[in-house]
Subunit: 218 residues, 2 copies
Amino acid sequence: MRKIRKFSAPEPSMRRLPTYLHVLTRLLRENRLYVSCTFIANELYLDPTQVRKDLALTGIVGKPRVGYSVQELIDKIKAFLGWDVQRDAILVGVGNLGTALLGYQRFRLYGLNIVTAFDKDPRRIDKTIFGVDVLSVEKLPNLILRKKIDIGIITVGEEAAQEVADLMVQGFIKGIWNFAPKTLIVPDDVIVENVQLSVSLGVLTSKMKLFETEKDTV
Amino acid sequence: MRKIRKFSAPEPSMRRLPTYLHVLTRLLRENRLYVSCTFIANELYLDPTQVRKDLALTGIVGKPRVGYSVQELIDKIKAFLGWDVQRDAILVGVGNLGTALLGYQRFRLYGLNIVTAFDKDPRRIDKTIFGVDVLSVEKLPNLILRKKIDIGIITVGEEAAQEVADLMVQGFIKGIWNFAPKTLIVPDDVIVENVQLSVSLGVLTSKMKLFETEKDTV
DNA sequence: CTCCAATAGAGAATTAATTCACGAATAATA
DNA sequence: TATTATTCGTGAATTAATTCTCTATTGGAG
């Protein structure tokens, strides 16, 4: 029996996998061949069983008393995350954040290849930022159809976000990485992942607040 | 009985609150006085009861048949998130991401006041970026003690992150917003919130992959 | 060769989070 | 004024996620 309509992996696990990958690449640099769940768990302050179950999602098989092959684990995690294939992407909105993303070389390691950027501000158009051409957003519909673009990155303000998303959907994009603080309306077969820095800041400051009031009242 | 050692709010709820705030500020602009959970839930594709339980965390009391006061709800959520007080912050690492954060005006709305930035690259030092002075990281220990800094933002590479965190801890910082892909070791009374863009990208690409393979096999 | 310690793996138990179900309150309407 | 529809609030039920427990395997030490 296959599951329909629901992606078959716990999201908390998915969110931990890139962190494991990070520890693993360090271990690879240090020429370690094998690693145990216990080791990874200690590094990241997690429960070893939790790490083991997360890793099992990737299909890796470990050896008792030895652990997992570091290299194989890296490959399996990358494959699970979909980082074993290159995906072409476009970025719309070359403001501060958009520019920072264009300059973030590491994304290449994750298979993300930003081929073109777009903006509506004439001062930004027809420039090259970190080796990526910035075009007028008017040229988006044409380009997105011509090249086979998988991923759209939205770094415009909240007021323009839906409009940009619509253009992307019309261009048969498969996934949208949305940095605008706006819930996008898209068809079911387009996957949206929202990033909002305010969410993370809120977790930090609310924990700080709870912690402060706790200290006061204990 | 008070809870000890564990922060008394479900993290998933905390992560949703800023999103509610976003809807609410839009409603305030549109001069709406009241809003129901059902309305918010529909906007964000969530379950109304979930929204209600989340909002209850802030201590808000609603009127049956009417809902909640938009203004009061905004105030309560901000208070819960700790966004009702200004907190002074420093930022270390004025690269692409650090620069983008300095330029992100919206943080002021969340009570985050970045007073000074630091870098070790002489080409960046003694400049002003988006109105924030960039100093040599050597001046950090002094400044952090002199001014009362609550929050440290780490936007350096993974190799320098722990070192920077140590300096912050010595300066009696209360919270660290860590953008480096590195698990920081800090005392119990310092709160760390990690942001890793790769995590979010991983969720997007792995969902895309699962979705693609699902379509193939159904 | 035998024993020991470390670890994977899998299922059970527990805990956390979400969703359901229902009673009470309230404003609008007839 | 009585009725109705809407919504809050809360406790129960369900589902998801984490943690615990136990067994089997394996490499290394004696």
